[in-house]
């Protein structure tokens, strides 16, 4: 069932254990294969960074919505009825010429799934979680993002149930672009804060 290539080797022990747990719980009737499939379908189709990008693109075009978003993001995005969880309380932090924001969870890998989807693997890896709170400029440089010494970097460690999403700056080239063109330019990494929108 499993390829034995090098990449997979590290995870092979976990993969077999995971398969065993799934099979045993299904045998006992405690979970059903269809429930697992339904959940995956939901996450694969409806949960992803397109939700966050949609919110940011609207904030770039609608000053009232932007103000509401920065004041109480949970309330401001409630009408979208995003699913996927982890946004009991969402806080949106705005990048400006003076401040650049970047988000992490050093203790596990908390992430606002409903607006950003499945977190990238690096977000959950020890290198990012250990270093971005200590040397954020170096870490951002590894993503090709240069933040000048005059700009404050604010690192948000999501240690409780509050989740953070970055409102990136709108680049000059998108000054006249409509919401859908902006949405296409807004990357998941810019919502985490490791990149700017270019």
């Amino acid at each position: 069932m499993h390829d034995s290539d090098e990449h997979e080797h590290d995870h092979g022990d976990a993969a077999l254990r995971a398969e065993a747990l799934e099979a045993l719980l299904i045998d006992k009737g405690l979970v059903t294969p269809s429930a697992i499939d339904d959940l995956l379908e939901l996450f694969n189709e409806r949960v992803g960074p397109m939700n966050g990008a949609q919110v940011v693109a609207r904030a770039w075009h609608d000053p009232e919505f932007k103000a509401a978003l920065l004041d109480n993001a949970t309330q401001a995005i409630a009408p979208y009825r995003f699913v996927g969880g982890q946004i009991d309380r969402l806080v949106v932090v705005e990048n400006t010429d003076a401040v650049h924001n970047v988000v992490v969870c050093t203790l596990c890998s908390c992430y606002p799934w409903a607006v950003m989807g499945l977190p990238p693997k690096w977000y959950k890896d020890p290198a990012y979680r250990s270093r971005v709170v200590r040397e954020p400029r170096n870490v951002l440089r590894e993503f090709g993002t240069e933040i000048g010494p005059d700009r404050l970097i604010r690192v948000w460690d999501s240690s409780a149930e509050v989740r953070y999403m970055v409102l990136p700056q709108r680049p000059g080239r998108l000054r006249d672009a409509d919401e859908s063109a902006c949405m296409a330019a807004i990357t998941r990494n810019s919502l985490i804060g490791v990149e700017e929108v270019v």
Binding site: L16, A18, V31, L39, L107, A127, V133, R134, F143, W156
Partner: protein, 228 residues
């Protein structure tokens, strides 16, 4: 718990693998993601704090080697064995039949004296209502608790025993430190607290950096005038 999971500020993990993307690496990872969600729905996991702590208790080597959903696998196995739903022996046999070798690194380390979460949730979500007013106000300086604890906590080591400034009051939430162990929801006020990088990392700190983190009221004490 001062475990392998408490990674903030640790050194030696090398560059960030920026190409490691968001797609499921392998099918089993997506199945495990869904399985844990189904296990929550089936009541096989007491609460999210208990699950986070179950992950913290896996073998440290597996924490680093098995990837994110490998950690979930170990955490789920811990809880299923501790609650008596499955035995380690039955899981070993099934994994063995699937090809697990005798030298396999097993993440799970189920406790012989597990915690029991035997109370219903006092409402939905994690936010709760508290009668007593918040002790701290925005702008106030506070000192974080300097010691760790044997159990679950959301006070990372790198911000312990440091002075920071309250920047936000996030209302009141279930306290993970007790909820993870079946000792009640014990809601507390939650604050955004900001620390300068110099306070955290000394002279070698990255300049012009502020660290913002959300901390529960019992993690904090007031800073008197002499310290201020």
């Amino acid at each position: 718990m001062d475990g392998i999971h408490d990674l903030g500020g640790k050194q030696g993990y090398g560059p960030v693998d920026v190409e490691a993307d968001a797609s499921w690496n392998e099918t089993w990872e997506s199945r495990m993601f869904a399985l844990v969600n189904c296990a929550f729905q089936a009541g096989l996991i007491g609460n999210l704090d208990q699950f986070r702590h179950a992950i913290e208790r896996i073998a440290p080597a597996a924490y680093l080697q098995h990837g994110y959903f490998g950690r979930w696998t170990g955490g789920l196995e811990n809880l299923l064995v501790e609650s008596g739903v499955l035995s380690s022996q039955v899981i070993d046999e099934r994994a063995g039949a699937l090809g697990q070798t005798t030298d396999a690194l097993i993440a799970a380390r189920p406790s012989a004296r597990p915690d029991r979460v035997d109370y219903p949730r006092d409402g939905s979500g994690f936010e709760r209502t508290l009668q007593q007013p918040p002790r701290y106000v925005v702008g106030q300086r506070v000192m974080t608790r300097s010691h760790g604890s044997p159990g679950h906590t959301r006070l990372p080591a790198y911000v312990r025993g440091r002075i920071g400034t309250i920047t936000a009051w996030h209302r009141s939430w279930i306290l993970p430190d007790t909820n993870a162990h079946g000792l009640g929801e014990n809601p507390e006020h939650l604050y955004g607290v900001a620390f300068s990088s110099k306070v955290l990392w000394g002279d070698s700190a990255d300049n012009h950096v502020e660290l913002c983190i959300d901390l529960f009221e019992s993690y904090l004490s007031p800073v008197d005038i002499e310290h201020a």
